[in-house]
């Protein structure tokens, strides 16, 4: 079977959609962070695929690498925030952390 760009895009879109659903629906802050990872990885698939089929060179892969590093950093900061939330609310349920509403 010949792999075309479309296959990669479908996988990327699925990853993005799953990440988005996770982010929107999860109440657990760690779960949301994981959803964010999925969205970022969906993006990475797209970057690599477009680089290979359309542009050429390595700039796409480099971007993907940047995203991976960024995701790592994001996860670190996100987890720190989650910890702080936990300390404040004794829970990591994001519904509780709506105090900035007012």
């Amino acid at each position: 079977m010949h792999l075309t760009l479309t296959h990669f895009l479908v996988v990327g879109a699925l990853l993005f959609a799953l990440g988005l659903v996770t982010v929107v629906t999860r109440r657990n802050a760690v779960g949301i962070l994981m959803g964010v990872e999925l969205i970022l990885n969906g993006t990475n698939v797209n970057l690599a695929a477009f680089n290979h089929y359309v542009v050429g060179g390595v700039s796409g892969q480099v971007f993907a690498l940047f995203v991976i590093v960024l995701a790592a950093a994001e996860a670190a900061v996100g987890l720190a925030i989650v910890l702080t939330i936990f300390q404040s609310f004794r829970s990591i349920d994001v519904r509780l952390a709506d105090t900035m509403r007012e």
């Binding site: 988005l20 982010v23 929107v24 629906t25 994001v94 519904r95 952390a97 709506d98 105090t99 900035m100 509403r101 007012e102």
Partner: protein
């Protein structure tokens, strides 16, 4: 004799006068005395006793009398037509032609008055030393008495209407103060008030008459050509005087005709000159003028006479005089008999040249005088209070004086004034002596037999009774006879525009009836007081006291509101316990208390009468002798073939031409005889009914004519009439206007305020709910919508993401759909 005046009038020129500079001293001395006693009297009396008080007062009077005598002596040294002393002190006020000087003038008439006032005044001051000795506010009495003399002198000596009015009101004030001397007794205080207010009715007339005279003389600066007749001084010339700001300017600007300043004036001398000198045209001008359909001069005369009515107690304004007896007796003698009440007569005599121009005015004067003479005499018949009898007698005698000046017998009226001053002062002071002797008893039913206790008082009283009754041995006969004879012969009087020659005879008839009555009630008072047994402290005798009691109680109640002391004697001397069952018990405690205030103690009805001290008896004797001696001033021409001395003396002043019918001498003799007969009839009846208090006829008669007696005894209910017609309506009007003021005028003001408040509230509501409401509505919508939208902001990222997704989806969908 009247033709003399007739002839003289045609050659009259201006008054020739002598300027002197001491006349002001005559009233000044009493003023000083009054000031000292009024300001420092209380302290002086406390520190040095009563002696200082009366020394000051009497000294003032004596000095005044001496000055007057000096003026008299100077006047005698002048030729008869030159006897006019003028003393102008300073200009009181000037505004246009209204100039008033503080000026004094003495002519023969005012000289006579000044001598009467100072002479009798001095005697009465001396009398008061003894009479008032028990009174605590001694200083007050003498201060007011001196002030009275000052005012009275101002009245007669003032050279213009304003000064006369100064005195006129001043004597009214002093009369008020002295009647209300025992002011702790509300009835006596009310009597003072009544005197002043009734006199103010007269003053109103006086003022109105004066204003009309002033206007008639040309005091109108606006053109009223319709009211101005004849060829009088051109208006512009008079108008020029309107600009005068000082007295000198006023004189300089006044138009002069034939050497006489014409135009409005308040000065008697200037007025006289203008009117009597015919070339000025003033007389003609005045006679031609009309006002409100009346002849101006008649109106002036009647209105001025209204002033005299008040002061001289004529019908219908006489009501205050009987009540004025509430004052101490010397006051009654000086003010309410000898001097003040004659002010009206003096005024008419002073203005004889004016009154003579209007037969109507003169007829009214004479008519009112006659009615008063008869009316008052009839009330005098049945009074029991000795002072009330004298009071009504005074009213009646004043009526005689007005008959005199009314019919044109000016000198006779003035002569009666003089004789009356003597005999009535004697009578009043005699009654004062009796009252003092009987321990402040005034009811004649409780006197009697005083002849033996008080010999001097007795004979002086008798002399005065003879004088007033009209027996030729004393002065009263001469003046009364002259008045009645002149009244009979007068034939120029006019009533309501109709010539009424019969009026003279009618007046004569009424006068002779009044004279008979006078003789009756005076001798009645004499017999009740001095003959028979002394009844003080014992029973009342048989004078129908029970009936009297029955009448007095309701009447006294009726009087209580108006506050006149009509039954003053009820308050006196019913202290004897025997009379409590006569319904008088109520009067006793109040009376006793009142007298305790005066410090009399309670001697009522007890003790023996005693003769008064020498200051009193000597004064009585002097006055009684005077009552006889003054007859020589008026010996009729019929007897002596020359004018009576007083007529001759007064001729230059009383110069009005009044025509009298000439009757034969035999008539005159007959009329003199009739006069004596009248006196005798009255005397005989009085002697028959009242001598020694033995006759029972008076009581029988009284029972028989119960109704009539009650009406007369209660003075024809005139006081009640006044109460119903004047006092009550006035008070009602006052109450109504006060209510009107508070409930209508002020209500309107408050209503305006209320309306404003209502408008303000409506306006406030509009502002609050409409204008401000719109502003608030904008804010409210903003807030409410914000509150609603705020629910969207949950604070949860996920919600926002839903929103973002929904938005993105919508954009994508729309992209497809719209394309």
């Amino acid at each position: 004799m009247e033709h003399a005046a007739h002839q003289a009038a045609h050659q009259l020129g201006p008054v020739l006068f002598e300027r002197v500079s001491y006349l002001w001293l005559i009233p000044l001395f009493p003023l000083i005395g009054a000031t000292i006693n009024a300001l420092f009297g209380l302290k002086l009396q406390r520190a040095y006793g009563k002696k200082v008080i009366h020394t000051v007062a009497v000294a003032a009077m004596v000095l005044s009398l001496l000055t007057a005598l000096y003026a008299f002596q100077q006047m005698l040294g002048l030729p008869a037509d030159h006897r006019f002393l003028q003393d102008t002190r300073w200009n009181l006020l000037t505004a246009g032609r209204v100039t008033v000087d503080l000026g004094f003038a003495l002519d023969q008439l005012s000289m006579m008055m000044v001598l009467i006032i100072t002479f009798i005044g001095t005697l009465i001051h001396v009398f008061s030393i003894g009479y008032m000795a028990d009174e605590q506010p001694y200083w007050r009495f003498f201060a007011w008495l001196n002030l009275f003399v000052f005012s009275m002198l101002l009245l007669v000596m003032g050279d213009n209407f304003a000064m006369m009015f100064f005195g006129w009101e001043g004597v009214g004030l002093c009369s008020y103060l002295l009647i209300a001397y025992y002011y702790t007794d509300p009835e006596k205080a009310a009597a003072g008030m009544k005197a002043f207010v009734v006199n103010r009715f007269g003053d109103f007339g006086f003022l109105a008459g004066l204003l009309m005279l002033f206007w008639g003389m040309g005091g109108a600066w606006t053109a009223r050509d319709d009211m101005r007749g004849g060829t009088y001084v051109p208006l512009p010339a008079l108008n020029a005087t309107a600009g005068a700001t000082t007295a000198a300017q006023s004189v300089a600007l006044a138009p002069v005709i034939d050497g006489v300043m014409v135009g409005p004036t308040l000065n008697f001398r200037e007025l006289r000159d203008q009117i009597v000198i015919e070339k000025t045209g003033v007389k003609k001008h005045l006679q031609e003028q009309q006002l409100w359909g009346f002849t101006l001069l008649a109106l002036i005369g009647v209105l001025l006479f209204v002033g005299a009515m008040g002061k001289s107690a004529q019908l219908p304004l006489y009501v205050w005089l009987p009540d004025a007896m509430a004052g101490p007796t010397p006051v009654s003698a000086l003010i309410h008999a000898a001097t003040m009440v004659t002010a009206g007569v003096y005024m008419v005599a002073r203005l004889n040249f004016l009154f003579a121009l209007s037969p109507t005015a003169m007829a009214w004067v004479a008519l009112i005088g006659t009615l008063t003479a008869v009316f008052a005499a009839s009330i005098g018949f049945f009074q029991y209070d000795i002072k009330k009898v004298l009071a009504y007698s005074t009213v009646s005698q004043l009526g005689f004086m007005f008959i005199g000046v009314g019919v044109g017998a000016y000198w006779a009226g003035v002569y009666h004034l003089l004789t009356h001053a003597f005999f009535k002062a004697t009578l009043f002071l005699g009654s004062g002596s009796v009252i003092l002797g009987c321990h402040h008893e005034q009811d004649m039913r409780k006197m009697g037999g005083l002849k033996k206790f008080m010999p001097t008082t007795h004979w002086t009283y008798l002399v005065a009774c003879i004088a007033i009754a009209g027996f030729p041995v004393a002065n009263g006969f001469y003046s009364k006879d002259e008045i009645l004879w002149k009244a009979f012969t007068s034939e120029h009087l006019t009533l309501f525009g109709f010539h009424t020659p019969w009026l003279g005879a009618a007046i004569y008839l009424a006068g002779i009836v009044a004279a008979t009555g006078t003789s009756f009630y005076m001798f009645r008072s004499y017999y009740m007081t001095f003959t028979g047994e002394y009844r003080g402290g014992q029973g009342h005798g048989d004078h129908g006291h029970d009936d009297h009691g029955a009448h007095a109680a309701p009447v006294a109640a009726a009087h209580a509101t108006a506050g006149h002391g009509g039954h003053g004697h009820d308050d006196h001397g019913h202290a004897a316990p025997a009379h409590d069952d006569h319904g008088h018990g109520h009067a006793v405690p109040a009376h006793a208390a009142a007298h305790d205030d005066h410090g009399h103690g309670g001697h009522h009805g007890g003790g023996t009468p005693h003769e008064s001290p020498r200051t009193i008896t000597w004064v009585l004797a002097t006055l009684a002798i005077g009552s006889v001696l003054t007859l020589f001033l008026g010996l009729p021409a019929l007897w002596t073939h020359r004018p009576p001395a007083l007529e001759h003396w007064l001729e230059p002043v009383l110069l009005a031409e009044v025509p009298f019918a000439s009757k034969p001498h035999s008539w005159e003799w007959i009329f003199q005889g009739l006069g004596v007969l009248a006196g005798t009839v009255g005397w005989v009846f009085a002697r028959w009914l009242y001598k020694d208090g033995k006759s029972t006829i008076p009581a029988t008669l009284q029972k028989k004519y119960e109704g009539a007696w009650t009406v007369v005894y209660n003075k024809y209910y005139v006081d009640e009439l006044y109460d119903a017609t004047v006092i009550r309506p006035s008070v009602f009007l006052a109450r109504f206007l006060s209510w009107f003021d508070g409930h209508v005028i002020d209500w309107l003001v408050n209503f305006a305020g209320w309306i404003t408040r209502i408008f303000a509230n409506i306006d406030g509501a509009i502002d609050k709910y409409l204008v401000d409401g719109a502003v608030n509505a904008v804010a409210a919508v903003t807030i409410e919508s914000g509150r609603a939208l705020r629910k969207v902001q949950t604070g949860r990222i996920q919600t926002y993401l839903y929103g973002a997704l929904a938005g993105g989806l919508a954009v994508v969908l729309l992209n497809f759909l719209i394309r």
